[in-house]
Symmetry: C2
Subunit: 254 residues, 2 copies
């Protein structure tokens, strides 16, 4: 530990003299794509929490919640902080997705954003804090992103900065991971029916699945409970299932 560098300095001496202020530096934010899913009548959809900006730039446009990374918190911690501020939850599944570093992506200043994806069951969501936050249904059809709720439908130009691409990438990532990881269960409550589970898979995969085969393929991951769902409408009521304690698939590669 007493090694000296080219100018004869130890590490301690070097660090004391080190001036990090010589160069200009970018700001860094953690932006969180908070997803949930709710059964709504016939068809299910993913939902994402967006915030309407009350300030320039992109005033009145809708943005993914985010916050600047402080000097005394890791980027991951900043992401958790933002998530808790917006949903009142902690311990939510959070996964880093991508870092957005183009020069002109925010006209205010040089801002680099690390995007995260958060997945949480609808039941655990507290009503979005503040009037400027709203849940939007989200789907992709053809090459375009669709975002809508009871109040309005957004077009591509209604999203701030490069956030449309952020959302697109998150949906793509989910689609790629859903078959070999456990992420669906992060969107579901502890007890769920097989039809629910299947609809969630279908939404994320953006394709219909064959019911009987789906049951067969999921058999290793879930187990039956004695409870039956109260029948909603006509037809045989579904039985509740839960995850098998040991039926585990990996979640991240890190």
């Amino acid at each position: 530990m007493e090694e000296r560098n080219g100018r004869g300095l130890t590490e301690r001496e070097f660090l004391e003299r080190y001036d990090p202020g010589k160069y200009e530096r970018p700001s860094v934010t953690a932006d969180i794509l908070i997803f949930t899913a709710k059964e709504c009548g016939e068809d299910s959809h993913l939902q994402i929490l967006l915030i309407q900006r009350k300030e320039h730039p992109c005033m009145n446009r809708w943005a993914v919640p985010g916050g600047f990374v402080g000097m005394k918190e890791s980027v991951d911690e900043a992401a958790e902080r933002v998530l808790e501020e917006k949903t009142g939850q902690s311990g939510v599944y959070l996964e880093q997705l991508y870092t957005w570093g183009d020069v002109g992506r925010d006209p205010r200043a040089r801002i680099i954003s690390v995007s995260y994806m958060a997945l949480t069951p609808w039941e655990k969501i507290r009503p979005a804090a503040g009037m400027d936050a709203a849940w939007y249904f989200v789907s992709r059809s053809g090459g375009t992103l669709r975002l809508w709720n009871e109040d309005r439908e957004l077009s591509g130009q209604d999203l701030a900065f490069d956030h449309a691409r952020m959302i697109w990438l998150a949906l793509e990532r989910m689609k790629n991971k859903v078959l070999y990881t456990d992420i669906v269960f992060r969107l579901l409550p502890d007890k769920f029916t097989f039809p629910e589970l299947q609809r969630f898979y279908e939404v994320i995969l953006e394709e219909k699945l064959h019911g009987p085969n789906f049951r067969r393929d999921m058999a290793a991951l879930v187990e039956m409970t004695d409870e039956k769902c109260k029948s909603q409408g006509v037809g045989k009521p579904a039985r509740y299932y839960r995850r098998k304690p040991d039926g585990v698939r990996p979640e991240t590669e890190l």
Copy 2:
């Protein structure tokens, strides 16, 4: 475009008054994991370019090449710049991997690093610039990373910062992507033999493959040429193959 915010400012007026200097900001680097692969006698191995640090902190330890992201370049552009400085190449396959944001990861200052993976054929590599750069063979066995070359063998403590984890993640990512993307061909020259191709797959997948089945499965992606390899040692000389122009698999999800 003439919308005014809560204080009656237009976007132009707001931006003129915006002061990005109020908060302290972290430094951001782009760190490049430059991989190549070379046939070396019996067994092939991936190789990675490392640089021995001549300065505190982590003096004399080996680090992944990196550089600070300038204010007038995107993070991707910074990555390309670093890559070209170190290999003299441009147009190399480059993929963003992960962003490392822990507070104490660099004792000099708060530094957030965006890691990239670069893949290039051995033939296109120019000799590493400077005496401080060296190629290391790299593999994982059990839970540990192995790095070695003709001169020395590195242990976990010989790597700077969190760079061992960076390399580990890159190997994991490669392993996960190799079967459904084109990344192997980024490591190979234009013409290659089937045994070569198979060994590269085996190195990345960290498992032996069955020769005849491997040929069958790759048939859609490559095509035979008339050229035969000069026989090296005993045995039937291998035939050269090249990629089919249309035999394409996707490379990234972005």
